[in-house]
């Protein structure tokens, strides 16, 4: 409960701080202090030291999985503020405090959707995440691409919300309750068809939100059009949060149905991996390549649902962490470049050796090369699928797709190290550099010892 309450309160405080403090860097410092306090509050709940007790009538359920994910999301947002604070200030409309406030509201939604125990709270959580995101996507008001991305995202997002609500309603019709625990207990043989139809609609709408194929078509346009700072947030923390909501739903509500959802899921996983990886190869812009790569990574994260067991839960935590850290880092470097094409990175290793080295580590992690966290997260996902048995072709297909992904990730590394050019990034502060180095160190450290993170799952 701590994370939900504090993020909402800090969001409101930040909203008003733009009246009191006109200075942009003061606003950023307030945001960083607030995120540290939020992280401490969530730690206090996670380790059982102190928490605010609210009687929520069984609507929320705080598990160690959800709390650990909250810590990860809040921690990475903190790193994101340190890296991208300058880019948020560079957006010319509005004061940065407004954007920080919206990000805090999104974190509130993340905390709700990682802890929901009722379909009502799932809906509320996903909406609290989505609505501020529409605003962030369109925050560059005079840029037509940003406008277009915001409109597209808004239309697709509210369309999928409508589908999700229809699904929830049909489930309610079949089971007479929104509470997840009671849904699994309630049996009403005559209404199995409503229940399955509701689950199918829910699956479609959540596939929309996590941009799984065949509902991924909005993703490249929206990620490309949104300001790069906010694309970075959208592609990492938000996507991971929806996955956490999705896996909880899958483990409970979907298992109450007699129908075997694994066939539909395996088709979605295969299509997502294929489309994401193959289309990413043909992109000219690194930003668009990262958008397709985020679709491909979503395919891997879907493995956690497809093969739901203890390993896949650990894997999802590791995957969301590794993927978010690496992607936030790459986007932060990308946001400083003048030219977003692959050629724009030519010769970065000579002008900015530290940036090039850390970006390479992040890209290696995304590709799943050993000694980085990306390797272990992919390994856990596939190990979970192998352990459950059946559909082994999907595992081989995923490995094949991971090999394909090496091509487009290494293209960036090749541009940075083996091509001559004059890629330069203006205003790189020491803070920016050292945050990147620290993130790269985390990526390698957890790539050697993943249990440093996973031990917190069992409290």
């Amino acid at each position: 409960m701590n994370a939900i309450i504090f993020s909402a309160v800090f969001g409101v405080l930040l909203m008003f701080s733009s009246f009191l403090f006109q200075n942009k860097s003061t606003q950023r410092n307030i945001a960083i202090v607030a995120i540290v306090l939020l992280l401490l509050a969530n730690f206090a709940e996670q380790f059982g030291i102190w928490r605010i007790q609210v009687n929520n009538h069984g609507m929320l359920h705080f598990s160690s999985f959800g709390l650990l994910f909250n810590s990860i999301a809040i921690g990475i947002t903190g790193l994101y503020f340190l890296l991208s604070g300058k880019d948020i200030e560079a957006i010319d409309s509005g004061s940065p405090a407004d954007y920080y406030a919206l990000i805090f509201f999104i974190l509130c939604g993340v905390a709700v959707s990682s802890a929901y125990n009722s379909l009502l709270m799932l809906f509320i959580g996903i909406e609290i995440i989505s609505i501020p995101l529409y605003i962030l996507t369109g925050s560059d008001k005079r840029n037509l691409k940003s406008n277009e991305a915001a409109l597209k995202y808004f239309l697709m997002g509210s369309f999928s919300t409508g589908i999700m609500l229809m699904g929830i309603t049909l489930i309610y019709g079949a089971k007479a309750t929104f509470n997840i625990d009671q849904i699994t207990e309630m049996v009403h043989p005559g209404r199995e068809a409503w229940f399955n139809a509701g689950l199918l609609l829910l699956l479609i709408s959540l596939a929309f939100k996590v941009s799984a194929a065949p509902f991924h078509f909005w993703t490249p346009d929206v990620y490309d059009g949104a300001p790069t700072v906010f694309t970075s947030f959208m592609a990492t923390i938000v996507k991971a949060a929806v996955f956490v909501a999705f896996i909880r739903l899958y483990a409970t509500v979907f298992s109450a149905s007699k129908y075997d959802w694994r066939l539909i899921l395996s088709i979605i996983v295969a299509a997502t991996l294929f489309i994401g990886n193959i289309t990413a190869i043909f992109q000219q812009s690194v930003k668009r390549m990262l958008a397709y790569s985020s679709i491909a990574q979503a395919g891997f994260m879907l493995f956690a649902l497809y093969a739901y067991n203890g390993i896949s839960k650990e894997g999802l935590i590791l995957y969301t962490f590794g993927y978010s850290v690496a992607t936030v880092g790459i986007f932060a470097v990308l946001g400083r470049m003048k030219d977003y094409t692959f050629e724009g990175f030519n010769g970065l290793a000579r002008t900015q050796p530290i940036l090039a080295a850390t970006t390479s580590i992040f890209l290696l992690s995304l590709a799943g090369i050993p000694l980085t966290i990306g390797f272990f997260s992919k390994y856990y996902m596939l190990a979970a699928a192998v352990k459950n048995g059946g559909h082994l072709w999907l595992v081989f297909f995923a490995i094949l797709c991971a090999v394909v992904s090496v091509y487009y990730y290494f293209r960036v590394i090749q541009s940075m190290y083996f091509k001559t050019g004059d890629a330069d990034t203006p205003f790189v502060t020491p803070l920016f550099k050292w945050t990147l180095v620290a993130m790269a160190a985390i990526v390698i450290l957890l790539g050697l010892f993943p249990n440093l993170l996973l031990q917190y799952l069992y409290f």
């Binding site: 609505i131 605003i135 991305a149 229809m166 346009d221």
Partner: protein, 112 residues
Amino acid sequence: MPINLYIFVSLALFAIGVIGVLTRRNVIIIFMCIELMLNAVNLLLVAFSKMHLAEMAAKLPGATNNGVDGQLFVFFIMVVAAAEVTVGLAIIVMMYRNVHSVDVNFLNRLKN
């Protein structure tokens, strides 16, 4: 009235909404179709709520609160829909200022 009629009406409304979103080109009309989808859901929720109340009352006389959570959900949907409308109309106005049109066919700058 049997529940099937309610289900039929609200699924029909929902289908009209979905088809409208997929085929119409005017942003405002698409937006109205999304609202139509939400209202179809509201209608069905209230119908289910009454249905569950009647069923429970037949089993245990005196159970007057069953099914009330469906009606509560309707209020949440209304509030969230209102929040979405404020943001959505703002985005539409922002786009209209830049391109002087509310046609989604203008949305093709990101394709290439």
